[in-house]
Amino acid sequence: MRWLVLLFPILSLTAQDFKSEISVVQFSAPFTQDSEISLKPFKSYNTYTFHITDKQEIFDSEEIKYLPTVILYHNGEEIKRIESGISLKLPDDSVKKIQKEIDKIIESKF
């Protein structure tokens, strides 16, 4: 039982929480805030918006090349990446594309 109690905080600390379960993460910067998409449609899942000024190391580890970029994770695995490209604008159907992938994940659970 003691090892189990110890395991809880260890797991909590080591796991990359922003990639757990179904997570929609927007990587952005203060100067690209106008180009960000609203993550409200995904409020049932984990949503995060990181700015490069605050979380540089995550941008490096996730190899973010364009701002903004939206990535859908499922249990730590990258499922879908939507990048703005040099136009600094995310595609209009970004939300639709992410929702489609989420639907596939949810469907696989039933």
């Binding site: 797991l11 929480d17 757990s20 379960e21 984990n46 039933f110």
Partner: protein
């Protein structure tokens, strides 16, 4: 005149404009209403029916057969020394079957594997026992089936409905398992507090039913009843009379001159079923005691009680499914309050019964119920994996253990 024309023009223009705006508003409202109407039903469908499966399923298999047939010999009563007839007494049951239908929307946790390509009603998802769910929103199972086992036909059903949110859990469940005569209903409402993404605690209230009258043994009380002189009020053999059996005195003397006596017993049809009292007690009396108890227990209404419940749930599933840990526990606190059924016969008064009946001076004894589960899977390498699953529940005086362990090494 010019002013009048101007005024009419303005009024006309005003009326015309107002007319256009009014129509436009009506048109817009109609579109909005239609949109809201469609959206409402789409949301309703998405929340309740999306990913649900309606199924009709069943199975059929050979019934249990004894390894060797049973035989007995039938003797001619008019000629005890004639060659007896050997008869096959083996019980041959018709095939067993199970046929049912249902609708289900239960999400599997990531570590759970879908057993078949189809649902047949025998699935036992963790969603039914874990306090939280793999997905938020509605989950349900409505299953009904008819089953035949060794010629006995039962009805089984399970109705389960749960809504899970970030901060709440609401659950209603009803279960009936015919072959063990289990009928169980529960409803619970809990507030949930997520701590981080993997851990949550919850607290609320749960209402449950039970049918068994704990501690109350009618036949024991009946047999131990005494009159004012301290003699048994109900002699054991009078139970046989209650069920239509009768005893007949007889005496005989053997060839050595020893005389003895006893009573032989006949059933309600007049057939001899036992040659002595002892034989009657060995062969018949046990079943009569069971029948007596069943009848007395059946006279009692089912019991229902509510109590506070607390619990926790921890779920971790690592990238690529290399490691997972799911543990949960529920504790129903010892503050049970009965709101249906005669409380004197309930589990609260399980220790209030003695040979003289219920001790009305006792106020009952509270108790705790528990339920917990632990599922661990660790794929140490591509070829080696360890899996442990265990579940324990203590509800009233029933304890249920369920565990499995696996060490897999793929060559």
């Amino acid at each position: 005149m010019k002013k009048l024309i101007t005024l009419i023009f303005i009024l006309f223009a005003f009326n015309l404009n107002s007319q256009v705006i009014d129509n436009s508003d009506k048109f817009e409202n109609k579109i909005v209403r239609e949109y809201k109407f469609k959206k409402f039903f789409k949301n309703l469908y998405d929340d309740i029916f999306k990913y649900a499966t309606i199924y009709v399923a069943g199975d059929m298999k050979n019934a249990y057969e004894t390894q060797y047939p049973d035989y007995f010999i039938r003797t001619n009563p008019d000629d005890l020394y004639a060659i007896p007839r050997v008869e096959d007494q083996t019980v041959y049951h018709p095939f067993d079957y199970r046929a049912g239908f249902g609708i289900r929307k239960l999400a599997r946790f990531d570590y759970e594997v879908k057993g078949n390509n189809y649902y047949d009603g025998t699935e036992n998802n963790k969603a039914l026992s874990a306090p939280t769910a793999a997905v938020k929103g509605f989950e349900y199972l409505f299953h009904w089936e008819k089953e035949r086992q060794r010629s006995d036909v039962f009805t089984n059903s399970r109705y389960f409905l749960r809504h899970t949110g970030d901060y709440h859990i609401v659950k209603i469940e009803q279960r009936e398992v015919g072959n063990v005569d289990l009928k169980y209903q529960s409803a619970e409402v809990r507030a949930r507090l997520p701590i981080g993404k993997k851990f949550s605690i919850s607290a609320g209230v749960i209402a449950r039913t039970h049918q068994k009258a704990f501690g109350y043994n009618p036949i024991e009380l009946w047999l131990n009843e005494v009159d004012e002189d301290g003699n048994p009020a109900n002699y054991w053999y009078t139970l046989g009379f209650e069920y239509g059996y009768d005893d007949w005195y007889y005496a005989s003397t053997d060839e050595n001159g020893n005389s003895f006596y006893d009573w032989y017993w006949t059933n309600p049809q007049g057939d001899i079923v036992a040659w002595t009292d002892r034989q009657f007690r060995d062969l018949i009396f046990g079943q009569l005691m069971n029948d007596f108890n069943q009848q007395r227990w059946a006279e009692l209404d089912p019991f229902a009680e509510y109590a506070p419940i607390v619990g926790f749930d921890f779920y971790h599933y690592s990238q690529g499914g290399k490691f997972w840990l799911h543990s949960y526990a529920n504790w129903i606190l010892p503050y049970h309050k009965y709101f249906k059924g005669n409380v004197d016969f309930s589990y609260l008064h399980r220790d209030s019964w003695g040979l003289g009946g219920h001790n009305n001076l006792l106020k009952g004894k509270q108790w705790s119920d528990y339920q917990g589960g632990l599922i661990i899977g660790w794929k140490i390498s591509k070829t080696l994996g360890i899996f442990v699953e265990g579940e324990y529940a203590k509800f009233w005086d029933s304890e249920i253990y369920n565990s499995s362990v696996g060490l897999n090494f793929r060559l």
